[in-house]
């Protein structure tokens, strides 16, 4: 019996995972969320920005990992537009412009933000480090036009923006190692303030930067998105729904690991 359990067919585990993902997504159960300090810091920073300030969002993730960063982008952009903070979008990933452009358009439409006045999307340029360093001297040198091929010099919200000196914050929504590059090249070289919203798998890598103040805030995966939504009083946002689903998947994995270990110890004692 124990051996059968320990060698359980993996298809049973697959079915269990499918069920704990599908059911909470279809029937959302509201769970209490405690806002962590890194998310609170990011929220507070954006909340205290004066109207008319500009932040930059780097959509540094691909379609494979969009589930976590997209709710973060949505929550932060919603916050910015409600405060009158302008948003510049760009990406260091070659396969993300279509995704990010569509997302920005959708969120802007929901918040009645106007393209070119409240937000723009610059798109992608190859050579991540050169792009980060190049924008520090002159954004127009790197992006002569925005994603929609309008010259930067003709876009109203870019009239008073030359380089990082006019950007209040860079929020890197990342699924890889780009946050490190932004910190090393944009923060250290140009003093640009950096915050990050990262997928759960790379949260642990961000904490040293958070402690040194090189990151002013951090949204950790679904949890960060759900926390930001709570701060904005958004009920049933994508982050909250995602966190609920992830919660049950986490619980299932914890339960399976615990049961597996109990069976392992009982089996070992019997054998001894």
């Amino acid at each position: 019996m124990l051996e059968r359990f320990m060698n359980m067919d993996r298809r049973i585990i697959f079915i269990l995972i499918a069920l704990v993902v599908i059911i909470p997504t279809l029937i959302p159960i509201r769970l209490p969320i405690t806002v962590s300090e890194p998310t609170q810091k990011l929220y507070d920073y954006i909340d205290t920005l004066p109207s008319g300030s500009t932040i930059m969002i780097a959509f540094d993730y691909g379609p494979s990992s969009l589930a976590e960063p997209e709710p973060m982008a949505k929550a932060v952009m919603q916050h910015c537009f409600s405060k009158g903070v302008k948003v510049i979008g760009m990406t260091l990933y070659a396969n993300t412009p279509t995704l990010a452009h569509k997302l920005m358009r959708r969120i802007a439409a929901e918040n009645k933000a106007v393209y070119g006045e409240d937000y723009i999307f610059l798109g992608y340029r190859p050579g991540a480090l050169q792009v980060i360093l190049g924008m520090g001297t002159n954004i127009a040198n790197v992006f002569e036009t925005d994603y929609e091929k309008t010259p930067i010099t003709e876009i109203p919200m870019m009239q008073n923006i030359t380089n990082y000196d006019q950007i209040a914050l860079l929020l890197d929504l990342a699924a890889g190692s780009t946050t490190g590059a932004w910190i090393v090249y944009a923060n250290t070289r140009y003093g640009l303030k950096i915050a990050a919203g990262v997928t759960a798998v790379i949260i642990a890598q961000m904490y040293p930067y958070l402690q040194t103040g090189q990151l002013i805030g951090l949204m950790p995966g679904y949890l960060g998105a759900a926390e930001y939504e709570k701060l904005l009083n958004v009920a049933g946002g994508d982050g909250t729904v995602g966190l609920n689903t992830a919660s049950y998947a986490h619980l299932l994995i914890i339960g399976l690991v615990l049961l597996g270990n109990i069976a392992f110890f009982v089996h070992r004692r019997k054998e001894a």
Binding site: M8, R10, I13, F14, L16, I17, V21, L31, P32, T34, S36, E37, G62, P63, S64, S65, L66, A67, A94, N95, T98, L99, H101, K102, R125, P126, G127, Q130, V131, L133, G134, T137, N141, V142, Y147, R189, A200, I203, A204, Q205, Y207, P208, Q211, G221, L243, A246, S247, A249, H250, L251, L252, I253, I254, L256, V257, L258, G260, N261, F264, F265
Partner: protein
């Protein structure tokens, strides 16, 4: 000549770029801006090289009939279709966007989603407290996972309400990330950084030449 010129260029640009980080003089900074512009011009060529390498790799796979060589035709088909649609009509063309939204996004998302199933199965089979180190890893992982989800604090506040700590699950997770994890990560970052500095010096001085290809 084939080796001397790249080595000399590497030395020259390496030294100048180091100087630009420490010398604030306007001429040095003008040089820095100039080099960044050069870098921006050179970078797209890396993409061209990547595409050529990809084509070469898959052509070789087809020619040698290696395992699953048939899939290489899918790579070529995907590449040709996206180039034929994207280059003449642009990224915002409705056909390009449709292909991106309905082919690339679902396929990428599917591949990543499958991880959840495999991780669950692998965790069940491999996460066993066989030794002290494995037990430590197991306990830490359980605490961090519980602290990552609202249910962790919910259960803690119900079951452990007699303790002076509210939200103990997320508190313990935060402590592990802030203290234990940060200490270890900082050590790794320092080690990697020192390695990068020493390797950079070796490359600039021409001691490390493997980037040129060949044996020496």
């Amino acid at each position: 000549m084939k080796r001397q010129v790249p080595l000399a260029l590497c030395f020259l640009f390496g030294i100048v770029m180091i100087l630009t980080q420490f010398v604030p003089h306007k001429y040095v900074q003008a040089l820095y801006k100039e080099f960044i512009d050069w870098g921006l011009i050179i970078s797209p060529f890396a993409l061209v090289l990547a595409v050529i390498t990809l084509i070469q790799t898959h052509t070789t796979r087809v020619r040698r009939r290696t395992e699953h060589w048939q899939y290489s035709f899918l790579v070529f088909a995907g590449m040709i279709i996206m180039v034929c649609v994207g280059v003449p009509f642009g990224e915002q063309d409705s056909v390009f966007v449709w292909l991106y939204d309905n082919v690339q996004v679902p396929m990428d998302a599917t591949m990543f989603s499958l991880l959840a199933f495999f991780i669950a199965s692998a965790a069940f089979r491999a996460f066993r407290a066989r030794s002290f180190e494995a037990t430590l890893l197991l306990v830490t992982a359980m605490i961090v996972m519980l602290g990552n989800i609202p249910i962790g604090d919910l259960v803690w506040n119900k079951v452990m309400s007699w303790t002076p700590w509210a939200d103990g699950a997320s508190g313990a997770r935060q402590w592990i990330l802030d203290v234990l994890n940060s200490a270890a990560r900082r050590g790794i970052i320092l080690g990697v950084s020192l390695g990068v500095i020493s390797q950079s010096i070796r490359i600039i001085l021409g001691i490390e030449r493997s980037y040129l290809g060949g044996g020496d």
